[in-house]
Amino acid sequence: MVNEMNLAEYKGVFVFAQQVDNKLSGIALELVGKGKDLAKDLGTEVTAVLVGSGVADLANELAEYGADRIILVDDPELKEYRTEPYAHALAEVIKKYKPEIFLVGATAIGRDLGPRVSARIHTGLTADCTQLEIGDFPINPVPGKEQLHNQLLMTRPAFGGNTIATIACPDFRPQMATVRPGVMQKAPRVEGAKANVEEFNPGFIPNNKYVEILEVVKSVVETADIMDAKILVSGGRGVGSAENFKLLDDLADAIGGTVSCSRAVVDSGWKSKDLQVGQTGKTVRPQVYFAIGISGAIQHLAGMEESDIIIAINKDETAPIFDVADYGIVGDLNKIVPMLTEKIRAAKAEK
């Protein structure tokens, strides 16, 4: 491949520190955490790229979660997310600082921003990664082909979770990936930790690609984020109706958990999309995941199988959810769930 890039010039791990309404998104800290691990393997540093308007205050939080350096791009044009000014910000940061790795969250923002930036820079972008590590490419030596070291190996599910693929980007820099929220771990917070903050403003002059935001409509329902829950009580089509989710609400209330659901439940209009677990919903890894009346389509499993303990209740003994459950109970959820709720309440009252 003809490639004019001098790859050796590209150094350091950069992550996009996504913020919305001047609050850091969870993914920003997760990427700092993962970026720190990768930087350690490469003997380099992790830099958070903070983009917005009036967001300088967020630098401290990034430092406390492990960022070695922060590049701050602060401009009134960056108040609300818009593809063009944000893509311009990241592309100019990449041109100036030449990172070897650039990570972006696979969010509704990052999955729009990442491809636009990678196309502008001319590099590869691997989508929705669930695992990142430093290794050799090719993974095993191939006669007649140089084996490159210190490459970013990006692993992702494809075909709705049927397969997994590991991707490398050997000839272009930065090696770019979007990363699924909820999969990587934040580093422990170190209160008072400081990092270098460098301000950088490449200039933002509106052109035809700057769209106009006429209105911002936030969802009215304030629900707990299922990605933060320690215990999830998740229901599927087998729950039967929106009203019958009361059984799950009660169980969640008794055990101190949060209710979530499968895609079928959202499609039926029983629950809102922000509670959906799975390939087209959210990836969760709680300590305990109750799968109640969920058959376990492969797209659902992709979003929850990393949970520590999976307890499945389903009347169909052939349901695929039992293939990933630690504890599978074949039976009627309408009988089991209310009794379980009572028992848990009683057990907690005794303490």
Partner: protein
């Protein structure tokens, strides 16, 4: 108004997945459908056609067999179908795919390009935004409601906890969600006409402003290091008990695992 809709023929993921020895997909060996998000994009285009009057061109890149989805699109109401197919385009990643489609679209007059948000085989959601970058036009991803006003489009752009009502100057590119609408069925007359309709077939020579070094497997910055069937963690215990025993069983597990 002229609308170009990018559609993709994808393996029906229920049919199982097969690989070539080099780790790329063996598309020829799998059952296929029109990608659901693309179908929603096509439906959105056809609604704009119904409402404002428009010429809708469906374009796809793929094997010669991908002609099938163009006929399906025309049976639904698309006016033209263009198949971009060439041996040198095979094995493309999203960079090379978006270069190819942008190179093909440069032959066309367009006000609006609509793509699906993502295809169910790759799930990358990259090709739409990348095409817009190559063509130097605005992009609105994750579109939910599309209106035309003068030389602009007004679109609801979805985010996790909100949407933005966004106005963009045409020409621009929009990526559509399957949730956008319920695609119409092919009409019997439409199927009949589509069967006879002429499909335009383009190859490498028809792509405008694209270097060879940006096409196909060789022009793809990303390379597959390893591909495999997903290895799942093994099943744990499975019990069939009466309801009271089931509850005792779960309680026992919750206590021994220190959940309660």
């Amino acid at each position: 108004m002229k609308i170009v809709v990018c559609i993709k023929q994808v393996p029906d993921t229920k049919g199982g997945v097969k690989f070539n020895p080099d780790g790329t997909l063996d598309r020829a060996a799998m059952l296929t459908i029109m990608n659901p998000d693309d179908k929603a994009g096509l439906e959105a285009a056809l609604r704009l056609k119904d409402q404002y009057g428009a010429e809708v061109t469906a374009i796809t890149m793929g094997l010669p067999k991908a002609e099938e989805v163009l006929r399906e699109a025309m049976a639904m109401g698309a006016d033209k179908g263009i198949l971009v197919t060439d041996r040198v385009l095979g094995g493309a990643d999203t960079w090379a795919t978006s270069q190819t489609l942008a190179g093909a679209i440069r032959n066309l007059d367009y006000d609006l390009i609509i793509t699906g948000r993502q295809a169910i085989d790759g799930d990358t959601a990259q090709v739409g935004p990348q095409i817009s970058e190559h063509l130097d036009i605005p992009v609105i991803s994750y579109a939910q409601n599309i209106k035309v006003e003068g030389d602009s489009v007004i679109v609801e752009r979805q985010y996790d906890d909100r949407y933005h009502v966004v106005k963009a100057q045409m020409p621009c590119l929009i990526t559509a969600l399957a949730e956008l609408n319920e695609p119409r069925y092919m009409t019997p007359g439409g199927i009949f006409d589509a069967y006879d309709a002429e499909i335009t077939v383009w190859g490498r020579a028809n792509l405008i402003d694209v270097e060879d070094s940006n096409l196909g497997l060789k022009g793809s910055p990303t390379q597959i290091a390893k591909a495999s069937d997903k290895v799942r963690k093994g099943a744990g215990e499975k019990v069939t008990l009466d309801p009271t025993e089931s509850v005792d069983y779960i309680m026992d597990k919750l206590v021994t695992r220190h959940v309660i």
